[in-house]
């Protein structure tokens, strides 16, 4: 499967940086004249990574050095910190990187009505969730506040730069960014002989909000949002809600904490039964749903090499995004290319969402990938554990992938396995496979 006969001696190189929990991928495709065509897909690391600015600086310096300061295509897949942070954490290095083209998902298009609706809704939820997290901390519920807080961190820190800022930095590279839609005709790279297909995100709100394989509960997002709106939002504002009873009966909390009967309620050994934060319960549900729905706005790109083999970059696409590829179809010259067809011809798969359970579909995903030879998972399990995401990556999924590709799974947080017939460059900064 190496590219003998091609002028450069290879068909494609895929470099996955090993900088932490986050995505940064550099794809090199040889032109017919052997000069490289570079695609940089995302550049971010999860909030809370030590020395993140230095780390991202190092990654971008390597990109600059490898590409000579210019990529042909810069792709920002979706508005999450672990995919975008580098663009503002290492502003000086990023400023030195030129891009001939910038691609974003249609969900970031300021002129698209549905995109704007989703964005406004998302930002409204985010504001309220930040308030909820603060209220939980106030109520002494550190755990709950952390749960919501860590999910919010996908959207950047409360101060000092958000994902929105990072997205603007990418957008600022060109005055003509392309907002990709799944129906668009694939882009033929003439000088390379490869085609770039856009698979997602789907232009369907319901599919974007569909984050679970379940057929029975497709409206989980809606339920979480409704619960949040009814139970939490009205009481987030600063002042205390009026008690429903006459002040004759009400005892302010400060006084109650000194009363014999009620003292027990606030004691440490009874704290597990406390309800001070119970009314905020819907916040965690919504935070998860919102996070997943944002993952579902991932720009998914399939690179079809000249010989028909496909490299699939799924970003963090979740169930709804995956399902939508089933119905895609393009007519190229006189042949028809469909979504499932591209999956069948996929030889390299950048695993979705750091290997979590709902970012790789089984029946309508992995099982269709008959030609799969390699899987790359950008993940940093120890960091995920610190964030309490113990199943990232999901062991069952890693096993299934491993079985499918006979062990050819590259995890950025582990040593590279030996892969027969594939040249793997491994160093602490990145893995690069050459096909």
């Amino acid at each position: 499967m190496n590219g003998e006969g091609a002028p450069a001696g290879f068909r494609a190189r895929v470099r996955m940086y090993r900088h932490g929990l986050g995505d940064c991928l550099l794809v090199t495709l040889p032109r017919h004249d052997a000069s490289p065509y570079f695609i940089l897909i995302d550049c971010g690391v999860i909030l809370g990574t030590a020395n993140a600015a230095n780390v991202m600086q190092g990654v971008l310096e390597d990109v600059l050095q490898t590409t000579g300061g210019k990529v042909d295509l810069l792709v920002a897949t979706h508005e999450h910190w672990d995919h975008l942070s580098g663009f503002i954490q290492a502003p000086e290095a990023f400023a030195r990187l030129a891009a001939d083209a910038v691609w974003l998902a249609w969900t970031e298009d300021p002129d698209d009505e549905l995109a704007q609706k989703l964005t406004v809704e998302r930002h409204q939820h985010l504001d309220n969730l930040r308030l909820s997290s603060a209220r939980m901390r106030l109520a002494g519920d550190e755990q709950g506040a952390d749960v919501v807080g860590t999910l919010l961190e996908f959207f950047g820190a409360a101060s000092g730069g958000t994902t929105n800022d990072a997205l603007e930095a990418v957008r600022g590279k060109r005055d003509d960014p392309r907002y990709c839609k799944p129906g668009d005709p694939p882009m033929l790279l003439d000088a390379v002989g490869a085609r770039l297909y856009v698979l997602g995100p789907p232009r369907d709100e319901a599919l974007i909000k569909k984050t679970l394989p379940s057929t029975k509960a497709p409206e989980t997002y809606g339920i979480a949002a409704e619960g949040f709106a009814a139970e939490v939002v009205p009481y987030l504002a600063g002042e205390v809600a009026d008690s429903p009873f006459s002040s004759l009966y009400a005892i302010p909390n400060q006084v109650a904490q000194e009363l014999d009967f009620l003292k027990h309620y606030w004691s440490d050994d009874a704290s597990w039964r406390g309800i001070d934060d119970a009314w905020l319960g819907a916040a965690a549900d919504l935070a998860m749903q919102l996070d997943s729905a944002t993952n579902n706005t991932s720009l998914v790109i399939a690179i079809e090499l000249a010989d028909g083999d496909v490299l699939l970059f799924a970003a963090d696409a979740q169930v709804g995004n995956w399902l939508s590829w089933q119905d895609l179809s393009w007519t190229i010259d006189d042949r028809t290319v469909t979504g499932p067809d591209l999956l069948k011809r996929t030889i390299l798969y950048k695993v979705g969402h750091h290997g979590s359970h709902n970012a790789t579909l089984r029946a309508k995903g992995l099982e269709l990938m008959d030609g799969l030879r390699l899987a790359m998972i950008p993940v940093f399990h120890d960091m995920a554990v610190k964030k309490h995401w113990g199943n990232m990556p999901l062991p069952g999924l890693v096993d299934a992938l491993s079985e499918k590709v006979q062990g050819a799974v590259l995890r950025s947080d582990e040593d590279a396995p030996l892969i027969p017939g594939v040249k793997v460059t491994a160093n602490p900064l990145y893995f690069e496979v050459e096909l």
Binding site: P213, E231, W389, G390
Partner: protein, 631 residues
């Protein structure tokens, strides 16, 4: 001086938001006879419950009511009032205690809450005894109320009625879940059921969560009907005309309003048409199979039990009407004599109490995991036949007919005759069961100290486990016949071609069940629940196991309720269902499930969403409408 048998406490017979009609003004007060608790402290805090009235959103607390205050003792507690939080405390206490008493009477032993699950220093699970269920009457400012398994507490909400709620509610007025008898009884039932069957929270088939909801509805509904005050008005208004007993059904549907299951119960029982006539729902055998959501699915079970109740009520009152009409059975026009109304209300309330007891008693005859409605029917029939072998009043016939009419059939039975529905004994006799019974302490009854009962049941489970693991006591053949495999620790096995890890046998519950039959016989059994879990390589886990009922006197296993997971088909089905229904996001984002998951909060939220989605004329909040109330 002897203790008084009961403490009389006033409650609202109907949710006050539906009780403000002039017509019903006089009847909205009922008195519950609650077991006398000598040590009842302000709160109220008693042996089983502690009512703690903190209101986090308002950042205040409400002073606890002291039901032992002489002024309250002499006048049956506080008068019903929406404006007095201390009455709210009294009402939740009285209602929840009544539910507990129904459980204890039916099961013949003191009730226990589910223990608190914590981790010991070695990372292993440690269960802690929880003496009291907490009730927070004003926990949330929302139309949601739920039982929190994590906190062992009921969290009740209150909310502002919206303009559209109905003409019965003051727009902008407050509606309190704590003042709804049905909501408090429903949530208390969740807690009691969880104390009995913790694995019924694991959704392994569409019936499991639906059962939790439906059972809580059944208890709330029939506990409500045991209050004659709640029925008298309805019976007077129907003039006892049995062809119009739909008023009871209307009451049931109205109850659905309160529970937020409006659409579901309306479809399952009937509804009031635009011209104010009652249109009963006609059951079809497709009802059970075609309902897919937990609440619509559950409402089929509620409707079946309700149908059985109506038949029983009809059977019990036909003679009264004949007596009152000189044998014609045709009532004259005009109001019914008060005496007749009283007698008929008493019959309805008695029938409700019987149905309630039958439904609760069946819990000791259920499989330990993965319950289906069909199995619940078998449990009902077996339990009732044990107690009342001679079914003169045709209760069991009524149940079977009602379940059959809705397509609820147990799999694996050849006919719906009573004899084939009754559970069978294990295929092989457990020869040495007498030996283990001798080592067990089985005096857990209605007078037991609850902490001791809890500790003894743990000790009994350990003894039972040792016995099962001893080949000299239980032969391999006997164990295999129970569907279990004797292994000392987790080991890799292949079940019907599927690789995975099998965990050792777990003895879940060992509890005595004592009942006094109407004929005075005492039936004493030991209920033993045993499970074993298989973790297939493909993910998830699959539980199998059995419930055994062992006759304590004759030392013989009488019934055997088995759940299998020994075929590839079945394993794939269980795995697939778990994948389809469980929200696995928390599994990705929260290690060790360290988040306070509130499963019942979510189900109730989903139910509400359904109404909105279905375009029902019901607002997103809990409703207190009243389209068919007694007027």
């Amino acid at each position: 001086m002897p203790k008084p048998p009961a403490r009389r406490l006033k409650v609202y017979a109907y949710d006050p938001s539906i009780g403000t009609h002039l017509e019903t003004l006089g009847i909205n007060e009922a008195v519950l006879n609650v077991r006398w608790e000598e040590e009842l402290a302000p709160g109220p805090v008693g042996e089983y419950l502690e009512v703690i009235d903190v209101d986090p959103v308002s950042q205040c607390c409400y002073a606890p009511v002291d039901l032992n205050h002489p002024h309250l003792l002499v006048r049956d507690g506080l008068r019903p009032s929406e404006a007095n939080p201390q009455f709210h405390q009294q009402m939740v206490y009285a209602t929840a205690m009544t539910t507990i008493e129904h459980f204890e009477r039916a099961l013949g032993r003191v009730a226990l809450w589910a223990p608190r699950e914590t981790q010991g220093p070695d990372g292993k699970r440690v269960d802690e005894f929880v003496q009291r269920l907490r009730i927070y009457p004003h926990a949330l400012r929302t139309a949601n109320s739920f039982y929190s398994p994590e906190r062992k507490a009921l969290l009740l909400g209150y909310f502002t009625a919206s303009e559209t709620d109905s003409d019965d509610v003051l727009p902008g007025g407050l509606v309190f879940c704590a003042l709804s008898h049905d909501i408090v009884a429903h949530e208390t039932t969740h807690a009691l059921l969880d104390g009995l069957h913790r694995r019924f929270r694991e959704p392994t088939n569409p019936d499991v969560l639906a059962f939790h909801e439906a059972f809580a509805d059944v208890v709330a509904l029939f506990q409500h009907f045991t209050m004659p005050e709640a029925l008298r008005q309805a019976i007077a208004a129907t003039r006892g005309d049995l062809r119009q007993e739909n008023l009871l059904a209307q009451l049931a549907v109205e109850f659905g309003h309160a529970e937020g299951y409006y659409g579901a119960l309306r479809d399952a029982i009937g509804h009031t048409a635009a011209d104010n006539t009652w249109v009963p729902a006609i059951p079809t055998p497709k009802d059970y199979g075609s309902a897919t959501e937990p609440h619509t699915h559950g409402s089929v079970l509620v409707a079946a039990v309700f149908d059985a109740f109506l038949q029983i009520y009809r059977f019990r009152t036909t003679d009264l009407v004949r007596l009152a009409t000189g044998g014609t059975g045709v009532l004259p026009p005009g109001n019914l004599p008060v005496d007749l109304v009283e007698r008929m209300a008493a019959e309805a309330s008695k029938a409700a109490a019987h149905v309630l007891a039958i439904c609760i008693r069946a819990l000791d005859y259920c499989p330990p995991v993965d319950i289906t409605f069909g199995e619940y029917l078998r449990a009902l029939i077996t339990a009732d036949r044990d107690l009342v072998p001679d079914d003169q009043r045709a209760y069991r016939v009524a149940f079977i007919a009602a379940f059959r009419a809705r397509g609820i059939y147990p799999s694996e039975v050849k006919s719906l005759a009573q004899d084939s529905l009754v559970w069978e004994p294990p295929p092989l006799r457990l020869t040495n069961v007498r030996n283990v019974l001798k080592q067990l302490n089985v005096d857990w009854d209605l007078d037991s100290d609850r902490r001791r009962a809890y500790e003894e049941s743990l000790a009994n489970a350990r003894t039972m486990h040792r016995w099962l693991m001893n080949p000299a006591e239980v032969s391999d053949e006997e164990l295999t016949a129970l569907g279990l495999r004797r292994i000392a620790q987790t080991e890799p096995v292949t079940v019907d071609g599927i690789e995975g890890d099998l965990h050792p046998i777990e003895v879940h519950s060992v509890r005595p069940a004592r009942r006094v039959a109407p004929d005075g016989r005492i039936q004493a059994d030991l209920v033993v629940e045993i499970t074993q879990t298989f973790w297939p390589k493909g993910g998830g886990h699959v539980r199998s196991g059995c419930t055994l009922l062992i006759d304590l006197k004759r030392a013989e296993a009488r019934y055997f309720v088995r759940k299998r997971a020994d075929s590839a088909d079945r394993i794939a089905k269980l795995q697939g269902f778990a994948l389809e229904t469980t929200d696995q996001l928390p599994a990705t984002y929260f290690m060790n499930a360290d988040r306070r998951a509130e499963p019942f909060a979510l189900i109730h939220r989903e139910a509400r969403q359904k109404h909105v989605a279905a375009g029902d004329d019901v607002p997103a909040t809990r409703v207190a409408a009243n389209d068919g109330s007694p007027r």
